[in-house]
Amino acid sequence: MSTMSFEDIESAYETLAIGIDTAGAQREALFLTRLALLLGHELDDINAFRNAIEAALAELE
């Protein structure tokens, strides 16, 4: 279970939004893919990474 505070989650959310805008519509997919690979590497846990991919896919409308 993550122990991240609400403040940090909010900061992550804001930084991500600003990152997507900074990348621009043309590059947002590449930016997000790079981000996912970097986070996957930082996470150092392939099962947690797979679960995150599944969770992100499951809630796609």
């Binding site: 997919a29 590449l30 893919t33 790079r34 996912a36 690979l37 970097l38 590497h41």
Partner: protein, 563 residues
């Protein structure tokens, strides 16, 4: 294809011989039954004939062409293949002409992101890889075939009908010298990716085709760069497509480049477009001197193979049995291993030494090797030719991160394959003995080599039958000597090597290993025995000898006992 005004064999550097059709005994209505007829005199068919000849088995080798391959095509010869060439007595011209290598570089947008270093243990005799044009490979093998009395080479000979029976195979063949019938105990289909034998028997390759297409072009230029594999992702000389560059002998360079999505094949293959694209790629790598265009072709990645490489008395070897993507350089090399694997088994059967059922191990062993290549090749092919937007994005993300980060760099590894391990083969019945070892090569794997004090190598001493490597301090004990005698009685080609840690053994084949380096390589202690098959794969290993198991393994490999 060659530049305008040139014939299909007008090469800048290679003189194509023309082989005449010969008058053969069958044309005079002399019916002879041949032990083996090999269809296709490419590298695999030529090698198969030479492997059979090593065991004294005669063969007829037919090919519809009148000369060698029209282009450089398969250019990478891996270390295990050099051992096969050595053991059929053909390696010398390869060593002299081919360019050995062990390094590679991958670039993304002009910057180096991955340094490939192929393993090269100090005891090995050959480098991990050698580059040589396929027509030279065929020429050197053909020279060996031409000087071998046991091989009846028939050029310009095409078959049009095949009749497979339980007791033999008949082929209707035709050559400019006339039509005749060839009778054979066994047929080897080394007739390539579009194998007419495969079609005639109604057999189909199964697997996957990949979308991405590559042009492969040979050029001649003075270009100062070592023999390495260079891969360029997103180069400015070929935006949207990967480029591979290999050096070949005679100042010939192979430039492979991926076509962009949606690019027309027909347009891409036009000479002016080849020249423009190769020119841009050369500018990109800093070559501004003149260059000449030699030959080009088109390639797309496939992972296809037959369900069974044996069809009664017909065996499929090489591309007729499997088509693999070029990126792992396993097409030629796996084909040579097919020829070697089938060759010794078939020779023992044809010599009346082994039961025909020994041949049933060919397909599972070699098809297993193909499926192993598929598993890796699928990964490298997805990287070299990403099939969908998801794969393209992931690759671009990995490559672009590689500029600053170490972790994704190995994804650009071309995954050039190691030889396959036959650990689950019926010829490897005691793989469980591996558990007794902490290290060393496992059962079923290709034996490592070791450099000896006299400058030679351990595997120079291996035989063409079974070979035992016995580790001792001094002379072997009575039990070991008895076992070696029994193995000798079982196999007239049996060779044993004594690795002597003390250097006091008086037996003739003793190899001193005072510093224990060979013992360490094999994870051995005094009393350890390795049993090698004729193809230098490890049939089994025992930390301390277990005579019953060792004899049973030898009997199974020699086709004297069914698994």
């Amino acid at each position: 294809m060659r530049p305008a005004g040139k014939g299909p064999l007008d090469s800048l550097y290679f003189h194509y011989p023309r082989f005449p059709a010969r008058h053969v005994a069958e044309l005079d209505s002399i019916v002879r039954r041949h032990a083996a007829v090999i269809v296709g005199a490419g590298p695999i068919g030529l090698t198969a004939a030479l492997v059979l000849a090593r065991y004294g088995v005669r063969s007829v080798l037919i090919d519809r062409k009148d000369t060698l391959n029209d282009g450089s095509r398969a250019i990478c010869i891996a270390r295990p293949s050099m051992h096969i060439l050595e053991r059929i007595g053909a390696v010398a011209p390869f060593v002299k002409k081919a360019l050995g290598w062990r390094f590679g570089r991958s670039y993304y947008r002009g910057q180096e992101i991955f340094r490939l270093e192929m393993p090269h243990p100090s005891g090995e005799k050959y480098l991990p890889m050698y580059n040589l044009q396929q027509q030279y490979i065929e020429q050197f093998l053909h020279d060996a075939v031409a000087s071998c009395d046991l091989i009846d080479m028939r050029w310009q000979t095409e078959f049009d009908k095949l009749d497979c029976r339980a007791d033999g195979v008949s082929l209707n063949v035709s050559s400019p010298a006339g039509h005749y019938r060839l009778e054979a105990d066994y047929v080897l289909a080394a007739d390539g990716a579009r194998s007419p034998i495969r079609s005639m028997l109604g057999l189909r390759l199964k697997g996957e085709n990949y979308e991405g297409k590559y042009v492969i072009a040979d050029i001649r230029m003075d270009h100062d760069f070592p023999t390495e594999r260079r891969a360029f992702f997103e180069p400015s000389g070929n935006p949207g497509g990967t480029v591979l560059i290999h050096k070949q002998p005679d100042n010939i360079w192979r430039v492979d480049y991926q076509l962009r999505e949606g690019e027309s094949e027909e347009e891409a293959l036009r000479e002016e477009n080849i020249r423009a694209r190769v020119g841009a790629i050369l500018t990109d790598i800093g070559h501004d001197k003149p260059w000449e265009l030699e030959w080009w072709s088109m390639y797309s990645a496939n992972t296809l193979c037959l369900d069974d490489y044996r069809h009664g008395r017909v065996f499929f070897v090489g591309d007729s049995a499997h088509i693999v993507p070029i990126f792992g350089v396993r097409g030629l090399n796996n084909g040579l291993a097919d020829a070697d694997n089938l060759g010794w088994k078939l020779a023992l059967v044809l010599n009346g030494e082994a039961d025909d059922r020994l041949l049933d191990s060919y397909s599972p062993e070699r098809r297993g090797a193909t499926l192993d290549v598929f598993a890796n090749a699928t990964k490298s092919t997805r990287f070299m030719t990403p099939p969908t937007r998801g794969w393209r994005l992931a690759r671009e993300a990995a490559l672009s991160l590689s500029l600053k980060h170490e972790f994704p760099r190995a994804l650009a590894n071309p995954r050039q394959m190691q030889p396959y391990t036959y650990s689950e083969s019926p010829l490897t019945p005691y793989a469980g003995r591996d558990a007794e070892f902490d290290c060393g090569p496992s059962s079923g794997s290709a034996s490592p080599n070791a450099k000896l004090a006299d400058g030679g190598h351990l595997l120079d001493h291996a035989g063409i039958g079974m070979t035992a490597i016995l580790f001792c301090d001094g002379s072997p004990n009575t039990e070991a000597k008895l076992l070696l005698d029994l193995l000798q009685m079982l196999d007239k080609r049996f060779v044993w090597l004594l690795i002597d840690g003390q250097g006091t053994a008086s037996e003739a084949p003793a190899i001193p290993d005072a510093d224990g380096e060979i013992a360490r390589l094999f994870g051995a202690q005094p009393g350890t025995l390795y049993l090698l098959r004729p193809d230098l794969h490890i049939a089994g290993r025992w930390k301390a000898i277990v005579p019953d198991e060792i004899l049973r393994t030898a009997r199974i490999c020699l086709g004297k006992q069914t698994p």
